[in-house]
């Protein structure tokens, strides 16, 4: 009997311990994450701009590698007839080469590009959720509207790129339950969603910001983007009216010389409607910047010209597209020097020698950094250069295109005046007779002229490929450019990333032809 008694005692002790430990150890086990905020202990800023820290997370995503540099540039520029891959023939491998030669691979950077745009969308949704549902933040109705407007502007911008690049994409308008597997919506549903966001943004964003926030989303940016969204849907009257709102907002004009626009000095100028902001310092050469200019920078053997990878080489087709003496040609194409034929950069340096100092005869001149900034930041990576997303000239040309399509003598006259205003600026400094004013009042002739003007004014600025697709001329244009693999019915859109199709267990479906 004895052992059972003792065992009972043991069991009693065990039982007592089991009971007491749950309460006794409660505080011992209540540890917090060290050195990291949680949503529970975050000191939410109160007052005028309580949502800024969350909003800035979305602006942070603007600088992501594929969002604005590699994937973005490759899919919108190298894919077009205006640019070739550049660099050495085999550089970059099958994936980027296929972006130039078609069909695009479904297992490469289309996936990271897709993912980074959805990262932005998720961050925007988080902000909208904070505004609508976080009661820990006390804010004025105005602050709420403005924060939501910024988030919706950035979300719309992301969806606008996605719908042009991929066509059908999942519409995600709020923070998702972790288990949600959202199918694709049609392009027209996505366009309707974008319009809604941009209208809200345009109504609630400020016209401008104090200087410390230069480059932050504005009413003009939202309207400019909305005008383009209308243009893509051929809602000509709406596009014209919306572009006109930007043009009459007194925030922008064509006063900045074409050459200056792409310099560091031209950042956030009167020309700038929306641009993605980067900066650098000698301390932090890359982390606050954008790799956009670096991947297109000259791939030189010398210290001076070792500025990047040399991707996105202006094509022969683009070169041929300029009218005689158009100063924009040399500001767009950086010609390498050739034996006995030195060339100058915009900044007056002698361009590197082809083929001994650089492997390509041409580079994108618009991403060339000012040597004084290279000295100041002590780095050649050029990460400080902003990326021009929406220029005022683009808005003016959108207005011209829309007005011409709406038609009627008055509108065509306005369209003509708009195009000519862009040409007038472009010809500054050129010999007399360069880029004469257009005079036609024939809608079809003017249409062609506006398209031509758009191509050269905005060359290497990511409009061309999407423009030829929306104009319905991509098949012809790409054939003319020697892209014989190009099949518009397939290659107008990128493939849906195979990895995303796999992840979704087939809820996402592939685009036609792939």
């Amino acid at each position: 009997m004895k052992i059972f008694n003792k065992r009972n005692i043991c069991m009693a002790i065990t039982a007592a311990s089991l009971i007491s430990i749950n309460s006794g150890c409660k505080s011992f086990l209540d540890t917090e994450r060290q050195g990291v905020y949680t949503t529970e202990n975050y000191p939410y800023p109160q007052g005028g701009t309580p949502y800024d820290t969350f909003l800035f997370s979305a602006y942070d995503a603007l600088r992501a590698y594929n969002f604005v540099s590699d994937g973005f540039m490759v899919a919108s520029s190298i894919r077009s007839d205006d640019a070739d891959k550049g660099s050495t023939p085999t550089d970059g491998g099958a994936d980027v080469i296929a972006m130039d030669n078609f069909p695009v691979l479904s297992n490469g950077r289309v996936n990271t590009l897709w993912t980074e745009y959805f990262v932005m969308i998720v961050r925007c949704n988080d902000i909208i959720d904070q505004v609508q549902n976080n009661t820990a933040i006390v804010a004025t109705p105005e602050a709420k509207l403005q924060a939501e407007a910024e988030a919706r502007f950035l979300r719309a911008y992301s969806y606008f790129f996605l719908v042009r690049a991929y066509g059908r994409v999942p519409k995600i308008d709020k923070p998702l339950a972790a288990t949600a597997n959202v199918p694709q919506s049609s392009a027209s549903e996505i366009y309707a969603f974008i319009e809604e966001d941009l209208k809200f943004a345009a109504a609630n964003l400020p016209l401008n910001w104090e200087s410390k926030y230069s480059g932050r989303s504005t009413k003009g940016a939202a309207n400019g983007m909305l005008a383009k969204v209308y243009l893509y849907q051929q809602k000509w009257a709406m596009a014209m009216a919306t572009a006109n709102m930007v043009m009459t907002s007194s925030q922008y004009d064509l006063s900045v010389n074409y050459g200056v626009i792409f310099t560091e000095a031209g950042e956030n100028s009167k020309e700038s409607v929306f641009e993605i902001q980067g900066t650098a310092s000698a301390q932090v050469p890359t982390a606050n910047g954008i790799q956009y200019a670096n991947i297109q920078g000259t791939r030189g053997n010398t210290v001076e010209w070792n500025r990047g990878w040399g991707w996105n080489m202006p094509s022969a087709q683009l070169e041929a597209a300029y009218e005689a003496n158009d100063p924009r040609k040399n500001r767009t194409i950086l010609y390498s020097s050739q034996a006995g034929a030195p060339r100058q950069t915009y900044y007056g340096q002698t361009a590197p020698l082809f083929p001994t100092e650089v492997p390509n005869p041409k580079y994108n001149h618009k991403v060339l950094a000012n040597p004084s900034f290279i000295a100041r930041y002590n780095t050649r990576g050029s990460w400080w250069m902003n990326v021009r997303i929406l220029r005022y000239a683009d808005v003016v040309l959108m207005y011209a295109e829309a007005a011409n399509e709406v038609g009627g003598a008055a509108n065509i006259a306005n369209a003509l005046a708009a195009v000519n205003s862009v040409r007038a600026r472009a010809r500054i400094g050129a010999p007399g007779g360069t880029l004469p004013n257009l005079t036609t009042t024939d809608q079809a002739v003017l249409r062609t002229a506006i398209r031509q003007e758009r191509r050269v004014e905005l060359a290497m600025e990511h409009e061309r490929f999407f423009d030829i697709v929306r104009w319905g001329i991509s098949q012809q244009v790409m054939q003319d450019a020697g892209k014989t693999n190009f099949i518009a019915s397939r290659d107008n859109l990128l493939p849906i990333p195979q990895q995303q199709i796999d992840l979704s267990k087939g809820v996402l479906t592939q685009n036609p032809g792939y």
Binding site: Y37, T38, A94, F118
Partner: protein
Amino acid sequence: MKKIFTKFSVLTTLCLLLLNVAYAQNVTVKGKVTDGKLPIPGVGVTVKGTTNATVTNPDGDYSLSVPANSILVFSSIGFSAREIEVKNQTTINVSMATSTQDLEQVVVVGYGTQKRKDVTGAISSVSGEDLAKMPAVSPLASLQGKVAGLTVVNSGGAGSQPVIRIRGIASTNNATPLYVVDGFIQDNIDYLNPADIESIDLLRDASSSAIYGLRGANGVIAITTKRAAKGQTRINFTSNVGIQKVIDRIDVTDAEGFKKLYSTQLANIGAAPFDFSNYNGNTDWQDLILQTAIINTNSLTFSNTGEKTSTLINLAYNNQEGVLKYNQYQKFILRLSEEIRVTDKFKVGADITGFHDINQGATAGLNNAIWAAPIVPVQTDAYTYYAMPSFQRAQVGNPIAPMERNRNNSINKGLSFNGSVFAELKFLKNFTARSTFYARYGYDYSRGFTRPPFSFINVGENGGPTTTVIDNQFRSTVSQGQSESHRYQQDHTVTYEKTIANDHRVTAMVGFTSLRFAGSNISGSRTDSTLVVPDNPDLWYLGVINANNILTNGGGGNEQTNAGVFGRLSYTYKDRYLFNGTIRRDGSSRFAPQNRWGTFGSVGLGWVASEEDFFKDNIKAINFLKLRASFGRLGNSNGVADNRYQVLLANGRDAIFGENIFTAVGPEFFPDPNLRFEIIQGVDVGLDIRAFDSRYNAEINLYTKKTDGLLTSYPIQAGQPAFFTNLGEVNNKGIEVSMGWTDKIGKDLTFNVSGNFSYNKNRVISIGNTIDFQIIGNGGVNLTNTGQSIGYFYGYRQTGIYQSTADLDKTPKFSNSLPGDISYEDTNGDGIISPLDRTYLGTPFPPYSYGMSLSLGYKGFDALIEGQGVAGNQIYTQRRTQNFATLNYEANRLNAWTAPGTSNVEPILDNTRGNNYLFSSHYLEPGDYFRLRTVQLGYTFGANMLAKAGIQKLRLYLSGQNIQTWSQATGYTPEAQIGSILGGGADNGVYPIPAVYSFGLNVTF
């Protein structure tokens, strides 16, 4: 009345005994201890209940002055202990039986020990002696191939720890076993000296590890360090010095081969030929980054056992160079272990290990050396290096320049103190109370600087001049970082132990434990805007650079706690029927309060058939036979980050407006407030046998182990932060067999042959009802799906190469397939190749593993041969799929398709053809290998030969490790890379496993 009488009689006897002891006459007892034939040296001879003891000499003789009426206890590892009453004899010759050798030894069973014969789970032991004679600085590396069910994947990196898996992959997230060092729960056991380990017990099944609650689910590796041996003052010194050499390299093309292949590739894509005219080098970059490296381990131990105290002091110095240049790891260890027996009933003890390590990482890059074009010469002087050709300059640098530039430019050191104090009190006759407090203080510190860059020679291409460039805008940076960690553990147990009527042995134990880990770190750097900091370590402190310069800094911390109560009951009846039961209630701070606690436990039953009378009478050949079965249930909280149930805000984000920087925050991940531990339940059935005079031994285990609520991170809809949750079930079933034969041939030749084999079948039973997404790893190369192994390979299956357009016309293909491309199998038979044709291609985790050894002894000589291998898995040669630039080619590309009939394996040299880079069986190779793990030859000098020098024993040996591996794998090692669970098996340039040739000695004074 009876009870009182019993007590009285016991007391009386005790008093009488004491009196006897006090007044007994001492006699000197002499004798010889043999195994029946041969003398056994080193047998402990102790007067029972005292510390009066000696050991037998190499001839098996002993002599000891003892009370005439005392009892002598003879004990030695590998033999059953014997007790003999002196009864005034002066000569006692003892024959010790080797029967059921290790069965009387104790093994660690968690918060206590148990005799092996009473164990009902699957616990294997490896003796420290077997580990000490291997050249390794990690105590775990030498376990490879020794134990069935244990997978050890070694790394050749200096001082690196191997990846260890016990019985397959039971978690998609963290499958590393728990390390318990003398009771102290540790994440890292680098601080141990391999030569100072007495034994390692591997608790493999769920019932054995259940008492560790939330921490034991992946199995437990329990390490017992050495204690002072009984009876004598001893000095032992072991030393081993060896060289390590990489014998299996990755076969890449030389200059001639490269020129040929690159020219072919350019021609294939219609590009202009490359101008090689100024590239006259033929550099074997691997040769330049690899080195023949030294490994040296030394251990010196002093031990003494006195009447009241036992003391052990160990000093160790280990030094390992890596086979990658400038990689070096050194560790210094000082350990003191002390036990004081205050009274017969009360003892206290302490153990403290001081540890210091110095770590120099490799400065050479393996992939860099494999990728760099061989046509480039290395350098013209120590500061001037050749740049790579234009086709890879932006992505691939000269491998030697960074290797030399970063050589010894940082100092990385660590200090730690691991200590414990215990007190043990026996009370009320059958009770023992023991309390132990453990503490670890760790401190790591590093500092370094950046050396000015070298000059680079850009070789002229296309008639251009060759130029030398230097970055003259360089500014030097000095950095410093420090981190501290501390960990406290307390264990309190009360044990009741009693044998009733000789037949019932009962051990009951209850206990309480708590653990707390915390740490913090801080780091910073400053960059001088005017001066270049000299190459002088005395200056590498932040303060050397004025604070008005560029600076960065960072810091963070962590904290985690764990608490539990537990109990165990062991009962045996007549040594035939065994029962073990454990229970644990355990909580972890990692989870939300409502999900924090779990109750776990185990039941084990055993039947020692050989103790049954009918067995003893009839089956003489079998000395011992035990059948056992056990069940265990436990939780797994490993691998989940602290407080993952809360939404953490990432603050490493910035918005830029103009040139202004604004900080931003956002949720770091998608939280699961219901996150909880995984539940593991396992059943184990086993058989232990000793037969033919115990010459033969075998152990067979069958197990099945199910993990429920797998903690898994999976990417939900693109752009969402990863979601970490519990989902699904995975099952591991397996069989483990190990057996051995120990025998003698003639008088002097002894041998042991042993082998082990294990098979593990890993199957995902479900991935949960809530998950709507595919779980992928390594970018979609690995999938985790119901009915397959975790993270199996999923891709196209190569059928050959399309030889011609005629071939293309009659074969399923992609719309853009061309002759020279890889042809894939049309698995769904729809006539075309599409993503739907991807299929199961194999598993990255070896299902079969085995080890074998043969040891021989002849007079003073001993020899050991060990082999080890795995089978059944695939290796993904991911390093070959890189095509971001033109890289050097692996030798297989010399056989690339050039025209019909030239190759049916290797596709055309054309990196614009994306179809050939799709993941397929083309990039898989069999992971099967067999390695000659150890060949060792030793000689032991007996005391009679060395007595003059005061040496009791001296063993010298030569050893070769990893000297030959048979495998089809093309990487540096065929050992499967299983560190990643959902995306395992990829070879992206694995640190080479070198062959080690060494010489060692082990001397005892």
